[in-house]
Structure formats: structure tokens, C-alpha cells
Symmetry: C2
Subunit: 242 residues, 2 copies
């Protein structure tokens, strides 16, 4: 069984549509490629109680939880503190994070910058090579900053924790509308239960109206289903152009 | 009180990172501008039980729910059926939707295309001027397709349902790092409780390191807080460049 994950995006600015969420889709793709399936992505406000409730709930229900956002130095950055409460850790000046920030900022260290070293006691850090505010791992929860460039740099440090067999994928692009092949595709999905088949319409692109995505852990089943759908699509295309 | 909303994005392709979610951020922004606050955005798979659970839960907890995805003609489009189950409506060939699809497709109507007219009994339709698959309104839930272009066209048909007083917003861009003003900004937020103040770092853009966003329904409070923060930022910028 591949592990299942939840992604929690934390930030008022996403919920008001002011800032696009560039993180969750990227993270979902990375996890998928590692064989970890994001089964839920949830965006919530910078609110302690809300964060605590969701982290407690999802960390129980899923193998892993990944959060982004809210670990900076301003008053609306409440993720660090909320994680401590969620798992009943003390909220303390984390010695390793403190050293890290002091080494990074040297004589430019301030109370505000140091606030980023207040973390749940005993957590393992995820290093931040750019602005020094560390992410961390608490229980099965991986806590990242909300800045997409930082997330990308920092995620690479933890991928060795995830080494699960990967899904194989096949993609078929066609200019047929979905309704033409819907029934046959349904029958194909029934015929190959180990293959997950999805159909995704694109708006009137002249070269590609729909994409059919097939995925499976069984390469041979996938290849059979792929060939089946491909010949179906070719047949239908020939028919519709005649 | 402004109404609160939940956005539910339905689609395996989003959770696997194959397709970017272009809908929820756009929708959140439209709602915000109408005075409706998205308090949660959740992405879930094309799975009947999961859809039903979340729709039932969130439609009770929020004033409005908006869903995107899963109303096309293929086997993985299970949103229409799930909405019927969630609200104990019968799942029927909706006469108005049927007429609409037949008029649209004329002699090109097929069983698959007609499947998009199977809807919870009695729901109000949201017209789809491009591919005819209608959205619909059931209780306090607004059901849209997942194709971003369609969502945009169809959302405009329902905005007259939402007419709430709008938030005023002020934005301050600065090249100061957050940690320099974090403490003062916290004090400002305490001083102006009717103003929501957020601080959002951008990665090392040379002209703008952070954005400070102030929002309030009270224009005068907002202006006071804005002037306060602006003079603070100017003072700090002068200090740091000396």
C-alpha cells in the first residue's frame, strides 16, 4: 500500500485570493512521483485553533501531513506555536535553531529574527539555506514555509524519507469530445481494475480537446489498457472524420 | 457579518499534481470582492463517499459552498450523483437540462451527452454556454465544472445572489525584511482591532521584499492604520539606509 498524505496550506492571503497557491500542486506532484498520494489538500486561515484542529485530525487520518506557511517572524505567523499545542510539546527557544539563526545573522540578529527559533521542543529541523527560518518535522507532520522558492529548496532535504514504489503513467491526447468515448472508457475501466483511468477535458484547444490519463503500479496491465484505449481513440477519430 | 464560504475542488488530477488548480484561487478572489469570505478550500478525489461526506459537513458549517469539477460525462464524473445523495434528492433526468442538451446538440445528441442532464431532482440550473453541461444550485451549494474557462463564464450568472458590503484594502510594498517591522506591526494590529493586517514575504525581489496588506470594512480605521504603517515603514527604511 502506498502511503496517503494530506497537504495543509496555511494563509489568509490564499483564502482571500490575494496570493496564488503555488505550493500545493507542486507538492502533490512531488509526492505522487515518490509514491505518496495526497488524498486531501486543504487551505485554512492563520488561526491557531483552526490550525490545531486540522493538524490533529489529519495527522491521525493520514500517514504524512505536509504544511506550508506561517513560520515567519510576524504576528500572523502562528504555525510554529500551533504545532507545539497540537502535539503537546512545549514551545521553546530551540537551541539548534537559535545557533543556526545567530550564525546566519551574526550581529544583525534581532528579537524578531530570533522569534523564528521558537519551536515545539525537540523537533528535527529542516534547514532553510536562504532566509534561515527553519522548517521542522513533528511526529508525522512536515512543516514548511509558504514561499514557493523556499519550499522547493527545503523539500529536497526530506525526500530520502519517502521511497515508495512509483506509479506508471500513460497519457493520450485527443481532439475527440469526452462524450464520444465516455461509455467505452467506462467499460475499459471495468475491464482493468488495477488501472486508474481519468478523462480531463481541455477547453477548445484545436489540437487537444481532452486528455485521457491511465495510471497503475502494474506496468503490464497499464500497457494493455493503454493499447486498448489508444486503438479505441484512433477508431473513433477515423469514424468522426469520415 | 459577512457570509462565510467553503470551496471544494473535486478531482484526482489535482491531487496527483497532474493538473494545476486554477479555480479555487480565482473563485476565492471573486468571492472576497463580493464580501463573501472563503474560510476553507479543500481538494478531494473523484470518490462518491468522500464527496458526500464533505458536502454534507461543509454545507452545514458554512453559509455557501462552491464546488468545481466532476460534472462531465465520463465514469469519473461522480459529482452530480453525489450531490443528489448528499441532500436526499432523487437522481433523475432533469427535464430542463435534457431540453437544453437536446437543443444544443440536436442530432448529435448521444447517451453519453445526455448523461450530463442526470441531476438531483428539482435543482436550479446554471447555464453553460459552451459545452452545455449545466452547473446547478442545490440547497446552499453551487456546483460548477472544473474547466477554468467554463467556471468563469458560469460564475458570472450567479453573482447577483451575493451582494455583501465589501472590504476595503490597502497595500504597502517595501524592501524591508519582515523581521525589521514585525514587532511594530504587531502593536499596530493590536491598536486597530477592526483592521486585519497581514505581512507576506516575497523571495528576494530587489524592489519588494515584503507586502503588507491591510483590510477592513471601516474605511476610516483602515486609513488611520494605513498611515500609521506607512510612516513606520518609511522611518525604518530611512534608518536602514543610513
Amino acid at each position: 500500500m502506498n502511503p496517503k498524505a494530506a497537504i495543509i496550506v496555511i494563509g489568509d492571503e490564499i483564502l482571500s485570493g490575494l496570493t496564488p497557491d503555488l505550493n500545493s500542486g507542486w507538492l502533490a506532484k512531488q509526492l505522487f512521483d515518490l509514491g505518496v498520494f495526497a488524498n486531501i489538500i486543504i487551505t485554512i486561515p492563520d488561526n491557531r485553533e483552526v490550525i490545531i484542529d486540522w493538524v490533529v485530525k489529519l495527522s491521525k487520518e493520514y500517514d504524512f501531513v505536509f504544511t506550508t506557511g506561517g513560520i515567519g517572524p510576524t504576528h500572523d505567523d502562528v504555525t510554529r506555536e500551533s504545532m507545539a499545542k497540537a502535539f503537546n510539546h512545549r514551545f521553546v527557544l530551540h537551541p539548534e535553531a537559535e545557533k543556526y539563526l545567530r550564525d546566519f545573522y551574526k550581529d544583525r540578529i534581532t528579537e524578531s529574527r530570533l522569534s523564528m527559533a521558537y519551536l515545539p521542543e525537540g523537533v528535527k529541523l529542516i534547514r532553510n539555506p536562504i532566509s534561515a527560518a527553519p522548517g521542522f518535522i513533528i511526529e508525522n507532520v512536515f512543516v514548511f514555509p509558504g514561499i514557493p522558492e523556499l519550499l522547493k529548496l527545503m523539500f529536497s532535504q526530506i525526500i530520502e524519507n519517502f521511497n515508495y514504489s512509483q506509479f506508471h503513467i500513460r497519457l493520450i491526447k485527443t481532439n475527440l469530445p469526452e462524450s464520444v468515448y465516455a461509455k467505452e472508457l467506462f467499460l475499459t475501466a471495468e475491464k482493468y481494475p488495477s488501472v486508474i483511468i481519468g478523462s480531463y477535458p481541455k477547453i477548445y484547444d484545436t489540437t487537444c480537446k481532452t486528455e485521457i490519463v491511465l495510471k497503475s503500479k502494474r506496468e503490464s496491465d497499464l500497457q494493455d489498457a493503454f493499447e486498448h484505449v489508444e486503438s479505441l481513440v484512433q477508431k473513433l477519430q477515423t469514424e468522426t472524420t469520415q
